[in-house]
Symmetry: C2
Subunit: 500 residues, 2 copies
């Protein structure tokens, strides 16, 4: 048995390895030498193995199991619960299965790169089947009370399972589909071609830097670099880094992705520093993490008032394009609704449908209702049915995202759960700060950031998503605020009559 | 006892931790968030401790000790000798002494920053005394046959100890001092003020990139970033990174430092990849490492033929300054001899004196001939005596370099040993490639790089410095080629009669 002091030291080790891996991962994806990939995978493999050994250490696990039955203060209880959940999950998987899972994740994600490049799903199909099967097996081992897919979901958003998501996403789909139909064609009245004009990468980098400053991202505890797929690395509150991809003829993507990844980092940066190395100093769930990125991207970053204050950045950086475009036109351009094949670039209205398609397919895969070999067809059919457009290649279709091929099943729903949470949080802020719109128009975003810190960020894992909602007098996750927000906003923008 | 297979796996772990620490170190010094310093030190501390545990693992150490008595092939023998030397050194230090040493290194180097900022040696004096005392103690524990200072030297340049260095450095001093006296004033005939004109940092970065390409540095296995003090991180052959400091009104520093750090990395990049993770896939000694950086900085990077081919870079980047300056004038500017207080920026002739001053002081400290409290005075006296200029502040004097304050005693001599080796290697190349000057003039540097790879780089630690010299029919380290090279070159440049 370990003493409580030894347990704290053990948790600290777990945290240091987790943090080291986060830095190495950020480094590997932001300019590390091209040829170093293979060796870096080995280095990361060695540290990951050590992390696994720490997390599954039996004297550690048994000691916290023992202590969880005792009188503990709330802080220790939270700490041990978090560690014990990981311990239980990992130790219920035999190490040969765990190693096979790690191997298949690495193999399939590498093979996905080849299949995507060659636009041929068949090149990765067999690997994907194996990866899904081993995930089902892992699911059956971990917990008898939850279906394998619910267990996967539970890793990313604890306690939000298929029954809840079916309801939330079903309601979203039922309202968004007819709304999208009403909107269709409305925005062809506008010419948004200015958004597609070349915007030099160096200037986009400057824009990204200024936008991050605008939303109170702290560069003393952060960094901005180039990468191939935008992401953020929330190492700890003093180290939360953004990585952005810039596309020369699409400045909108970089601008919104910067606010998105910046939002993730603002969460990390404002966790109470006393929680560092306690195992609680990190986001409480993937859905809530995503709520923070979507809040800054879609709630603030698409607010007219925000661009009233920051549109000058584009005009100064690229006057040739933007001198004759008004802030209002630009703002309208951010709200163009246009079904597209790529999740990543989707507008607010079609975005939920991209996620729902992926959720429906994942769920069907894990309940044996569909076969992997039919995936390209199923994917394309759903795009045609929900969005009215059909992918013509595997690359744009079933091979679009790396998630499944890297073994991240159950992750996709977080994106829409985050959007749903973001709208609920927006309502809660407006309740406390009724001058919300005015704050944005007066560029007093720090007030809003501080509200988020006070009610969410600071707690790290000390409060669950649901405890945070409850503390705001919200009785649970609910899709209605999102639907209301989207419909009101887009009705106004597109001057629609009551369409729904 | 571990099997040979287990030993190989153990060495691989040691290597992976070493490599991870190199990447984390590079990251920490090249743009990691400012506020992350404290937590990064903890993360690095945790991984360093694990590395120490691996290196001092008793079953590992005893197993290789046992095997070293057996019949081994040459490769295994080298492998085990390298590991055993580290094992013996580390295990002869009691862990409480080792921990105290690590603590004092961290404490004193942090305190050095404060003392340097405040220009006050007294602020760090007591810490330095403690650090020197513990290093003496460590020295007395490790090996009875070597004096504490020789043991420190041996860590950086195995088998080159005080007796050899006294001879080498003594001869250099005896010849350089009168030569410097002859040169004095000769270069005041020229106006080199163009070198001090502002050269925008962004353009210096481009210059650095092009210079690295010019010397066959492989960017697919490398990276170039900004930092506060130039350094390189040779993680493994596929990952050897350069970090440069740019000074706006001194483009010469960035140009030469880029060639210097690039030279270190070219060594790392060309180690045989089969040696990665064997414990032998790295530079064989600090002196030989330094010979490679100095070769590219001072032998190639100050060669007239090199600038014949690359001077256009400066003219293109900053035509306003350089359009009316000839390549010859610029080349002459790189050879301005002018005693200065800063080692780092010193010319070829005074550079050895900067190192000799540090060596003489170190040696005296470790043989109890001087007191730490007298260091500022001793330092300043030596500068006045050897270079004719006297520091007027601690910052420019005794607090100039971090080395001693971070516990790196015995390191400084490597800089001059490297210069000595570089000149010996130059002779060996000229023996094999008598058209050496022509190769440089025709921009066929790859031929020279390949010679270095064939005779030095590829072997990693498979050959010692001395074995490499022997393979080139050089009977050992010798300062005469350096003195001959410098005198011939500077006599010609400054059109001196036979002055010595």
């Amino acid at each position: 048995m370990k003493t409580q002091n030894e347990i704290q030291q053990h948790i600290q080790l777990i945290e240091h390895y987790t943090q080291a891996l986060a830095i190495l991962g950020y480094d590997a994806k932001t300019g590390a030498p091209h040829n170093s990939k293979g060796q870096t995978a080995k280095i990361i493999g060695t540290l990951s193995k050590k992390l696994y050994e720490l997390q599954t250490d039996s004297s550690f696990g048994k000691s916290i199991e023992h202590l969880l039955d005792k009188e503990l203060n709330e802080f220790e209880k939270k700490q041990y619960e978090v560690q014990y959940k990981t311990y239980k999950r990992l130790t219920s998987i035999p190490s040969e299965v765990y190693n096979q899972l790690s191997y298949l994740k690495a193999k399939t994600s590498a093979q996905w790169g080849i299949a995507k490049r060659d636009n041929n799903f068949n090149l990765v199909k067999d690997d994907l089947i194996e990866l899904i099967n081993i995930n089902k097996k892992v699911g059956s081992l971990v917990d008898d009370h939850m279906s394998p897919y619910d267990q996967l979901l539970d890793q990313f958003e604890p306690n939000i399972h298929t029954n809840t998501i079916d309801r939330l996403f079903g309601n979203v789909k039922n309202e968004i589909l007819p709304f999208l139909h009403q909107l269709k064609g409305r925005n062809t009245e506008h010419d948004f071609s200015f958004l597609k004009k070349p915007f030099p990468l160096e200037k986009q980098r400057k824009l990204a830097t200024e936008l991050l400053k605008a939303i109170d991202y702290n560069f003393d505890a952060g960094q901005l670099r180039d990468t191939l797929h935008p992401f953020s690395a929330g190492v700890h509150p003093d180290d939360a880094r953004v990585a952005i991809k810039y596309v020369e003829n699409d400045v909108k993507v970089a601008a919104l992705m910067t606010l998105h990844e910046g939002g993730h980092c603002i969460y990390t940066q404002n966790v109470n520093k006393d929680l560092v190395d306690t195992g609680l100093g990190r986001y409480t769930s993937m859905g809530l993490h995503e709520s923070q990125s979507i809040f800054w991207e879609k709630i603030i970053g698409k607010h007219k008032g925000f661009w009233k204050n920051h549109y000058y950045l584009l005009q100064n950086l690229e006057p040739e394009i933007y001198q004759n475009i008004s802030a209002e036109q630009f703002h309208l351009g951010l709200h163009e609704v246009k079904p597209s094949l790529i999740r990543y670039e989707a507008d607010d209205i079609t975005y939920p449908l991209h996620i729902i398609i992926r959720y429906e397919i994942e769920k069907a895969l894990f309940t044996d209702q569909i076969n992997v070999s039919d995936l390209p067809e199923i994917w394309n059919d759903k795009y045609e049915s929900y969005l009215g457009i059909r992918p013509t290649s595997d690359t744009e279709g079933i091979l679009q995202d790396i998630h499944w091929y890297s073994g991240s099943f159950g992750y996709f729903p977080s994106y829409l759960l985050g959007f749903i949470y973001a709208a609920q949080l927006r309502d809660a802020i407006i309740h406390d700060l009724p001058n919300f719109d005015q704050l944005i128009e007066e560029n007093r975003l720090v007030t809003i950031r501080k509200w988020l810190t006070e009610h969410i960020h600071q707690y790290g894992k000390l409060k669950t998503s649901n405890e945070i909602l409850n503390s705001l007098n919200i009785s649970g996750i609910n899709e209605q605020p999102l639907l209301k927000h989207l419909k009101e906003k887009y009705r106004e923008i597109y001057k629609l009559q009551e369409v729904i």
